[in-house]
């Protein structure tokens, strides 16, 4: 039986590698991460050739030991030894692309070079002599156009052939002195390794590659012997060993390209150059950037993204939706009219009652929930009531906003009441049914609920399925449409080449906080929703910058936190205008401060890596590739983040809907949260929040339900404080301004919702880092909230001495972390 063939796809970023991979494997791919790291790994079976696997290596420029991507690629090639390397080379940028090729050839695995974008090379009037290049490189060279899928199958066939013949030639490309030293190293250190691997190891030893030296564990004596050779060579060439090798590789490339590669229009501006002159222009760059960011936000958050999320959450996983939105406007208008009419009538009745009238009979007659309700009677009763009022009557009454629990006083005239009564009569006292307008598609919970009812399912089981599982699945899938919209836009920005320009334009500002210019996008998206925000971090290529973005993105208040901010502003601060801006400011400050603090810790310690970034030529992405990338990323969110979101939702469901009551342990109704297990848990842990000013079970429970979704905080507070009378007044008296502010800040900064935690897990691809991220956020939130509360007490004249001391200590610690020197900096100086 012949061995299974594996093709490793290697090449520079922007060389068309992903396009080639998609063309080679079609939809037959598995996307994950390389073990334990944030780097994406893609594998797939070759189209029509199931036994051949293709592995897409990260896009890299070199096989140096310095970046995560390079190390991942190199470990794979050295440890897994694929049968053949298919090296994709951008024909329009051949010199730098062949630099990686010179390193791949040394590994001792057969290499096939596929020159991509040959159509553009020809269009520019340039020529590449493929046969000549093949002879000089000592490996097969084929021409392809990944975009047009030209020569793809042929390239794969050549690769398979080469893999089977297993013929490889290793060329000696360096100058005499270097080759001499390498030969010597080969002889005394690596002669016991397989023959085809010897040269690669020898060159790495010559370069003093720390990773290889550590791996081989060469003895002290041999090492000093080799060192002698290397130093002699370095002296002769007047450079360090690593640089000698790099230099000679480029010299070698220049020598083999002579006569093989002819460029026609040296120095003439291409279309891409002309676009770039406008896009990164000194004056226009920032306005253009602002416009692009506005469009990204407008499409992915304000318009399409919100429509998609609303449809998924309120439609598909809510009551239902109107197919193609036909009849939707009309229904909403009627539903609103119906609700408003009820509000006016109830308001009037409330106003009359406050004047001492007893209208219980009227209320009973018009209560549509009564079994004996009769529309005719209700009509008569309401008209009688209308005529009993003076003609100039103006009622004022309180209306509670369901979303923010905000109370407002409204007034209505007798004319309004008349219209409202007529409207209800027009609707025959029945709420407009969405199914009577357009084509109504009921939501999943409705369908499932009906099904469960039909089979007489036990209450607890149907609640588990509806409020636990279906709601959990809905929480996962509800984000998907918006994520897809965002990923489509990001894929477009990445593929067309603009993403690199964003980093170019913003680098100066962001590097001050230890962030990359590309960190802007996760934060911007994070103002809408943290989940796609976290996932947008994958466009950042540096691993540490990426992790930093993942940890800090959810500090920015997302859309779901807005009702909560409004609630606190209204209930505790009398609707003060500055609460919302303060929330955003706190989020941004948290990002900047965390950036500074974390960059100085050992975890983020890194050798200074230069910002050396290719600015790829602009080009129009293809629809097919955009769709591919978008779907792939969306699917990986469902798979990787889905489990954790679903599980957490089910657990919180259980805690919320079950509890010990007078009648024993049973399932609870929605307004019995105070009896639930969650309330017990809240009571147990409430002491933790005492130093923050909200050490009550209510505060603790609201914080926990906020983990399911941040907008739940408002709903929960409404239930736990609304048991008797106005929730907003109860909240208002339960939270002092200092406690309210601390409660707000803690819930804005602490661990995000489960969906966002799932996204963090998906992107970190590592439990340790996920735990660190969530732990850091929560501890940071706790410290800031404590400082705010205790100093708040000081200013309101109710000092808690112990608390204040702790707050001062925390402030000092925080300041120390901000201003202390970088980890490892001191030692480096000695």
């Amino acid at each position: 039986m012949e061995d299974k063939i594996s093709i490793a796809l290697a090449g520079n970023p922007n060389s068309g590698k992903t396009t080639l991979f998609n063309a080679l494997t079609g939809s037959n791919q598995y996307v994950g991460n390389w073990p334990g790291v944030t780097v994406e790994k893609k594998e797939g079976a070759l189209k029509n050739e199931e036994s051949v696997t293709v592995t897409d290596l990260p896009g890299i420029y070199s096989l140096s030991p310095y970046t995560l991507e390079e190390v991942v690629a190199r470990n794979y090639l050295i440890d897994e030894r694929p049968s053949v390397i298919l090296n994709i080379v951008d024909g329009t940028n051949i010199e730098r692309n062949l630099y990686l090729t010179t390193q791949l050839i040394e590994i001792g695995i057969p290499v096939v070079v596929a020159i991509n974008m040959m159509d553009i090379v020809r269009k520019n009037g340039d020529t590449i002599d493929v046969n000549g290049l093949s002879k000089r490189l000592g490996c097969k060279v084929v021409e392809i156009s990944a975009l047009k899928e030209d020569g793809i199958i042929e390239a794969a066939k050549v690769a398979i052939e080469v893999a089977k013949s297993a013929k490889k030639t290793v060329k000696h490309i360096f100058s005499g002195a270097v080759e001499h030293a390498i030969a010597h190293i080969e002889e005394i250190t690596v002669h016991n390794l397989p023959e085809d691997m010897q040269r690669w190891y020898a060159i790495k030893i010559f370069e003093r590659d720390e990773k290889v030296l550590a791996q081989l564990g060469i003895g002290e004596e041999t090492l000093s012997h080799i060192e002698h050779d290397i130093v002699a060579c370095e002296k002769e060439m007047d450079d360090d060993a690593e640089s000698i090798i790099t230099n000679e590789r480029y010299e070698y490339i220049a020598s083999i390209l002579k006569g093989v590669y002819v460029k026609k229009n040296e120095g003439k501006l291409t279309l891409s150059d002309k676009i770039d002159q406008v896009v990164t222009n000194r004056i226009l760059a920032l306005p253009i950037f602002a416009i692009v960011m506005f469009l990204v936000y407008f499409i992915s958050v304000t318009t399409v993204g919100t429509w998609a999320t609303d449809w998924a959450n309120d439609g598909l996983f809510g009551d239902g939706f109107h197919l193609l939105w036909i009849g939707d406007g009309e229904y909403n208008e009627n539903a609103e009219n119906y609700a408003n009419s009820n509000t006016v009538i109830n308001g009037f009745i409330e106003w009359s009652e406050s004047g001492g009238e007893n209208l219980d009979l009227l209320k009973d007659t018009i209560n549509t929930e009564n079994d004996y309700f009769d529309a005719e009677n209700a009509k008569t009763a309401l008209q009688t009531y209308l005529f009993s009022l003076p003609i100039n009557a103006v009622a004022s009454y309180t209306v509670v906003d369901e979303e923010t629990l905000q109370e407002s006083v409204e007034t209505a005239t007798l004319e309004d009441l008349k219209n409202a009564i007529n409207a209800l009569i027009g609707y025959d006292f029945t709420e407009p049914d969405p199914a009577s307008y357009g084509v109504w598609v009921p939501g999943v919970p409705v369908l499932v609920g009906n099904g469960l009812e039909a089979i007489n399912c036990a209450d607890w089981l149907s609640s588990l399925i509806l409020d636990g599982i279906v709601a959990g699945v809905g929480a996962v899938l509800g984000f998907v449409p918006q994520i897809l919209v965002l990923f489509l836009i990001l894929a477009f920005l990445e593929d067309c080449g603009y993403m690199a320009r964003i980093a170019f334009v913003l680098d100066k500002i962001f590097r001050k906080f230890g962030l990359s210019g590309k960190s802007f996008i996760p934060m911007l998206i994070g103002t809408g929703c943290g989940v796609p925000g976290i996932m947008a971090s994958r466009t950042i290529e540096n691993d540490k910058d990426r992790k930093m973005a993942i940890i800090t993105t959810t500090f920015i208040p997302c859309g779901a936190k807005l009702p909560f901010i409004a609630l606190i502003a209204g209930a505790v601060f009398g609707g003060a205008w500055w609460v919302a801006p303060l929330a955003y400011f706190t989020g941004m400050a948290a990002i900047v401060v965390s950036g500074i603090i974390l960059k100085k810790t050992k975890l983020f310690e890194s050798e200074y890596t230069p910002f050396v970034m290719e600015l790829p030529a602009y080009h129009m992405p293809t629809f097919k590739n955009l769709m591919h990338t978008t779907w792939e990323r969306g699917w990986s969110f469902i798979k990787k983040a889905g489990t954790i979101i679903l599980l957490s939702t089910v657990i919180i469901w259980f805690l919320t809907y079950f509890g010990f009551t007078d009648t024993g342990f049973r399932m609870l109704a929605e307004d019995e949260v105070d009896k639930s297990l969650l309330a017990v848990v809240g009571g147990f842990i409430s002491w933790i929040f005492a130093p923050l000013g909200f050490g009550t079970w209510q505060g603790a429970v609201a914080t926990i339900t906020g983990l399911v979704a941040k907008e739940n905080i408002v709903g929960t507070l409404g239930v736990v404080y609304g048991v008797s009378g106005s929730a907003i007044q109860a909240i208002s008296s339960a939270f002092s301004p200092a406690a309210g502010l601390s409660f707000l800040i803690f819930n804005l900064l602490c661990a995000p919702c489960f969906a966002a935690m799932g996204a963090i897990k998906r992107e970190m691809n590592n439990w340790k880092w996920t735990t660190f991220a969530i732990g850091y956020q929560t501890i940071f939130a706790y410290a800031i909230a404590l400082i705010v509360y205790q100093f708040g007490l000081l200013f309101t004249g109710a000092v808690n001495v112990v608390g204040l001391i702790v707050a001062i200590i925390l402030t000092v610690v925080l300041l120390y972390f901000i201003i202390r020197p970088k980890f490892g900096k001191k030692e480096a100086k000695n």
Binding site: S64, Y250, T280, R282, L286, F504, V505, K508
Partner: protein, 73 residues
């Protein structure tokens, strides 16, 4: 010593030596900035840093602080 940082926008220079060491130097050289290569400074970013360079037929961005390590003729 004249460095790449001093080259004006639109002008070109030939690299003589790359200073520095380790990851930083290797990364710069990996991208093709090696002895004898001709580099054209295309433009400066709107906020004054980094630079956009053209070398070996492609565009590269590099911070001024790093450009200072590249000695030119």
């Amino acid at each position: 010593m004249k460095t790449l940082k001093e080259v004006k926008v639109g002008q070109s220079a030939v690299v003589v030596k790359i200073h520095g060491e380790g990851a930083l130097k290797r990364r710069i050289m990996d991208m093709g900035i090696t002895k004898g290569v001709k580099i054209t400074v295309r433009k400066v970013a709107p906020l004054g840093d980094p630079l956009e360079l053209n070398l070996r037929g492609y565009e590269l961005s590099l911070r001024k602080a790093d450009a200072e390590m590249i000695e030119i003729e």
